[in-house]
Point group: C2
Chain length 274, copies 2
């Protein structure tokens, strides 16, 4: 996500500095001439403090990391960044992150962000400059968020071609448990329950439904912890729908089953817009 | 499926005749110069008998229709086709179809077929000549299937660029309940349980996981009826996996949850081959 963001911001800001704990990522970004400056950044490592000092004087810091890492970075930032700057994250949950942001010292001007795009394949080698094009990009301002931070977020979102949606962190987390975190768990449980010897008998249907199961678990654990209650509610709601389908099939009540499938199709068309 | 099949067979057989109950489909196929001959074919309609007589003398008949329609056609065929011909279907379940084929008169040389590809959008306007390229194409011969029918199936499958897999109808239906019919029900139940007001908050994850919910129910009902018992078993197995995920999240047993997600990812990679 961070790599794609850098690629889409390239040439659209005065100076683009990349921090990453993974040296090959920085080298790749450097070799592709995407960053104006690159720094290794290792959490909890002494030299990271020096590295982060490069960020002094920057106008905007964007945290592009798994949710768990964002919490760690938010703890560490105040010890190295003392100048005034806008701080936005692009983590997949918002309540806990915005809460952690609200505890930051006054030199930070924080705003929560979440671009709803991405892939199950991570890493800079899969980054693409058009990842954010036409994607919904939620911003969740804090009570302390200034007009300047809102404007910065708006300019960044516009520069990368995404569509800004402002909402509360609570509304965001409730909706995303439904549209993102539940689908991930379903894909995973599908892959979990599918015998591997069927690999030669899959088509685009299985490929599509199970795709999110390919997401590395370290990307998802922070999200699942952070949005646990909403996700549990959505799981219960999904289980109810699936049980209705199952009962109709079990009881050979085909008119009821067909009616539910038609409702699902209309719902799919209304949501996905096809 | 039938439209795409005609497009991929175009120029690769002596004479290509298309039958369809939907006149605009035939007109479109005709206007695109895909068929050598097109005939309206309405089940249970008097003139269909005349129409089908065009098929007299053909070497191979391929039934490309929803499962329910295939059963109807199989009942009607003997009254109009009395010459010797190979008969293959491309329906999504095989046990019931192969069973129905076994009751056909001796002039038919039947073989079950199922190309594992397709889209959630049906109709000739969505047909593409490369739909079958590299797709698995299961054939399920009957005890009465001749070497000639096997060779015809092999030639057709090779001509359209698909990969032939021979197996029993029982093994096919068991595997496909897992790799195709269950994913369809999960996608549908996901769409069913997702509030429509979240439509502006979806990304590629939801799009991918819910895609099969867009499949018209009339395509699926025959499949669900015909493969009901296998599907119910797979639903139970999926429910078990999902319950394990849910319990771990409920109990905040994150190491167990992460372990299951890792297993799912490895399973996904082993099955989908990425």
């Amino acid at each position: 996500m961070g790599g794609s963001l850098a690629m889409s911001l390239k040439g659209k800001c005065a100076r683009l500095i990349g921090f990453d704990p993974h040296l090959p990522t920085l080298e790749l970004a450097h070799s592709k001439n995407i960053l104006d400056h690159a720094e290794a950044f290792l959490l909890h490592a002494e030299h990271s403090v020096d590295a982060l000092k490069t960020a002094l004087g920057v106008n905007v810091i964007i945290l592009a990391a798994p949710v768990t890492a964002i919490f760690d970075i938010l703890k560490q930032l105040p010890s190295v960044v003392t100048s005034t700057c806008v701080l936005m994250d692009i983590g997949s949950t918002k309540c806990d992150i915005v809460q952690a942001m609200s505890d930051l010292p006054g030199n930070f001007d924080p705003i929560g962000g979440h671009p709803i795009c991405g892939k199950e394949t991570l890493g800079f080698e899969h980054a693409t400059a058009n990842l954010y094009q036409d994607a919904p990009f939620v911003v969740t301002p804090l009570p302390r968020t200034s007009g300047k931070a809102r404007t910065a977020a708006k300019q960044i979102i516009s520069a990368i071609g995404a569509n800004q949606i402002e909402m509360t962190a609570e509304d965001h987390d409730r909706a995303l448990s439904s549209t993102s975190h539940l689908p991930f768990l379903l894909s995973s449980a599908l892959a979990h329950s599918t015998p591997r010897e069927y690999s030669r008998l899959i088509g685009p249907g299985f490929r599509s439904t199970s795709r999110l199961a390919g997401t590395p678990s370290h990307m998802m654990m922070g999200i699942l912890r952070s949005n646990r209650e909403n996700i549990l509610r959505k799981l219960a709601s999904f289980r109810n729908s699936l049980s209705e389908f199952e009962s109709a099939l079990q009881n050979e009540d085909y008119p009821a089953l067909e009616e539910m499938l038609n409702q699902s199709r209309h719902s799919y068309q209304a949501i996905v817009g096809s």
